[in-house]
Amino acid sequence: MVDDNPLKHSKNRTLGDLSVSGRSGIQFPSLDVPEQEGLPKELLREEYVKLPELSELDVVRYFTNLSQKNFSVDTNFYPLGSCSMKYNPKINDAVASLPGFARLHPLQENAFIQGSLELMYELQSSLMELTGFSGSSLATLAGAHGELAGVLMIKAYHESNGDSQRNVILIPDSAHGTNPASAAMAGFSVATIPSDSNGNMDVDAVRSLAKDNLAGAMITLPSTLGLFDTSIVEICQIIHEAGGLIYCDGANMNAILGRVRLSDLGFDVVHLNLHKTLSTPHGGGGPGSGPVCVGEKLLTFLPSPVVTKSNGKEGTHFNLSDPVNSIGKVAAFHGNFGVLVRAYAFVRALGLTGLRHVSGDAVLNANYILSSLKDVYKVAFDRKCMHELVLSLSPQKSKGVKALDVSKRLIDYGIHPPTMYFPLVVEEALMIEPTESETKETLDSFIEIMRKIAIECEENPDVILSAPNFAPIGRLDEAMAARRPNLRQVY
């Protein structure tokens, strides 16, 4: 007989608990130049910085053990909607670590950075091809950062036309919260486009909002409902006729890679999430990269820098350039270069045929799950989905089991929960995005587990309400975390 797991009740220790005065995790060579006259005492700190004191193994073991408390793409199925948690190829990390890239200083002389600039130029070109746009900047460091750059360009465009009264941005009610937040940071006010019963934007509402003060719209395509909005071309026309420009949130680009160009549909600017669509690892919350691509109207407004190519007598040369009407710099340097290398490697590894298979299988997988679950779960909109599907657990909620509970139960089965309670327009939403990376066996297993959970909701709700039952930790008291914030330790 094996007793209770002796480790089950062990206290979770932080670095402060492990620290022992006098230990060290590093040695430096001693000073090899004569010691210099020091700074005056009043400028110097009186005590050491109170950091923990640990051996190298202490640190390695601590962070290794921590890592094992995470679910990740490398270890678990991770169908987190709108996040495109696909496989992150290992070659991408390897090439980003090449010394010529990883050890390159950002302010290095132009002649010494030609390899990096060439890669950035080629990536810009690939993104422009995929979106159909005529310009691109890789300077923005995440999706929301790209959104901000996008709406700042729209603002700068209107101001350059003497149209500074255009101060309203339209945003669908299904949009991610970063959209209105980015619009506000750009100094715009926000008007909401309601969704119609089919999950599309309400065209009449757009028409009535398209007035003299219209600056533009921020539209996610496919939408956060996992749908290709069939009125998109008409909506872009209405907004253009009213003098507005249309920004596309490219978070869901994985559904349409190589299958439609956003410029053809009427968009003026898009940001792409390289950490979603182009396979760069999300790192538990970044680094991301959110390059923007624009059409002719916004070409001169791109954030600095953009990489340009010149053919001189000494051959081809790449430069960091500032577009003439640029909205300015959005970060200290030239973008999250290490992420750009990874995204470039992904595009090169797949080519157009491969990228079309990415979107093809991403959409296939989502529809396969949808068709296999819709007899046991309510789907938010009963039509073909794109790369993700949205379930509504409102029927289960009426029996006391919420979307949150089903999410936590999935953890017991070793699956990372889908996105919950988003989009806001669907009650008890669960948004499931399988991506192209997963095998049919994984999808079938997920479907089987979801069906099993549907039965548990009816027959054994307690096992769901107490979930996760086998995670490193149970549900946490978030109210207490916010009421009595404990945001740091003292070492």
Partner: protein
């Protein structure tokens, strides 16, 4: 679609695809894309043909070899990105798939690794800066600085900020991009500013500043507080190994670029910005914050994202910032690096930087025609300094390159014909002496 497409990233076989399409009830994969208007469907897109992993590695090795990185030649570049030694354990740990390939920790039960690592990062940032609370990190030092200015405007309800002219020009540029659209006026003031208008939200300074010198934080802090504005200090965290923390100068918000703490140069990113402040301003902080709590039903302690009502996914256009995905993995790298350094390690690094840089400056200053910090010869500085010589900055820089040395960022906008040099612990005496010899060859005869 191409038949029998096989790729290591995409597992389905054609027979599996057919089986799945049958189950969905459509004949062809293309039928799933019929909502895309037909005239725009499947456009002509030109991408380079695909490469196998072997070919890809070769191509990128070739491309990366066109660069001249630190290590190929002695380098004395700083200016906001610094070459410091990074122990092997840092990348060994951050390249673990569980850290690398997880998303933002929305589900705390299966994200305790990222959450607890972030809690360590927040704790360490507080210790370095002396501030009460810190967030989980911003995109970089420049955007953190700009977000601090916006936060100061929200807190004071004032829409004018003062920035010292000695602030890094890239940071100033980002400040403009962020502040001007929200109708915040930016006033650039001299370092010896001695008067602040009553409607100023904050005074923004850099410590050490863009030219490496240490500003008089004590008087600047008092000056801005006298009008009820906030004191915002951007730090080079390695310098805090020996310098007084900004908290001792009554800083209200401290930001900084953490690249110098275990993050590769990587041509400018990904890096991570720190953001710390006094606890009274907690509810106006932008970005993620991790907090410690207990299980709802059980005794274990754990970590969650907290105070989320500040953030865009709840407060939308009224959020404290639009930031969502930030730089969690890089913050984890910083926490690992600082855990290895410990209190003595970070002091030692700072002392090595200080002594080596001052040794270099002393030797260069002895060369006829060369001057160290001609704009501010009496000011104290850390590990960056300005050099002017008998020739133009362009000439000196080029001549150094010709002699196999990368050194000096042109800063003629701040000091005529000035070159900014940076020396860290990775620069050996041999390298420094070769720099001195190279400059000596250009001396005034």
């Amino acid at each position: 679609m191409t038949e029998n497409f096989v790729h290591s990233y995409i597992p389905h076989t054609d027979s599996e695809r057919r089986e799945m399409l049958n189950s969905i009830g459509v004949n062809h994969l293309e039928d799933l894309f019929l909502e895309i208007p037909e005239r725009y469907r499947d456009p002509d897109i030109k991408l380079a043909p695909s490469l196998t992993e072997m070919e890809l590695l070769q191509e990128l090795e070739f491309l990366s070899a066109k660069n001249v990185q630190v290590g190929k030649m002695p380098s004395f570049l700083g200016g906001g990105a610094y070459s410091h030694f990074i122990p092997s354990a840092v990348s060994a740990l951050t390249s673990r798939g569980e850290f690398l390939t997880s998303y933002t920790p929305y589900q705390p039960e299966v994200s305790q690794g990222t959450l607890q690592a972030t809690y360590e990062f927040q704790s360490m940032v507080c210790e370095l800066t002396g501030m009460d609370v810190a967030n989980a990190g911003m995109y970089d030092g420049a955007t953190a600085f700009a977000e601090a200015a916006l936060m100061a405007c929200r807190l004071t309800k004032r829409y004018r900020v003062y920035v010292l002219e000695s602030v890094n020009s890239n940071y100033l540029a980002v400040l403009k991009t962020y502040l001007v659209p929200q109708s915040v006026e930016i006033v650039i003031v001299p370092d010896n500013v001695n008067q602040v208008d009553e409607d100023v939200a904050c005074l923004l300074v850099q410590y050490p500043d863009a030219l490496g010198t240490i500003p008089n934080l004590s008087s600047l802090g008092k000056l801005i507080h006298a009008v009820g504005g906030l004191f915002v200090v951007s730090v080079y965290p390695v310098a805090l190994g020996i310098l007084k923390p900004p908290s001792e100068y009554e800083a209200d918000i401290v930001t900084g670029e953490c690249q110098s703490l275990g993050v590769p140069l990587s041509f400018g990113g990904p890096y991570v910005g720190m953001f710390a402040c006094k606890s009274e301003h907690l509810r106006q902080i932008p970005g993620r914050i991790v907090g410690k709590t207990n299980e709802s039903h059980g005794g274990k302690e754990g970590f969650v994202l907290t105070l989320q009502t500040r953030e865009q996914h709840i407060r939308r256009e009224k959020a404290t910032s639009n930031i969502c995905t930030s730089e969690a993995l890089i913050a984890t790298a910083v926490a690992i690096h600082l855990a290895l350094l410990g209190p003595k390690g970070i002091k030692q690094v700072a002392q090595l930087c200080y002594n080596k840089a001052h040794y270099a400056a002393k030797c260069i200053g002895e060369i006829p025609g060369f001057f160290i910090n001609p704009h501010a010869p009496d000011k104290y500085w850390f590990n960056e300094f300005v050099v002017t010589g008998p020739k133009s900055a362009d000439h000196i820089q080029k001549n150094l390159y010709d002699q196999g040395i990368v050194g000096g960022i042109k800063i003629s906008n701040l000091v005529k014909d000035g070159l900014l040099f940076c020396v860290t612990e990775v620069n050996s005496k041999q390298e420094i002496d070769s720099l001195v010899r190279a400059l000596d060859s250009m001396k005034e005869l």
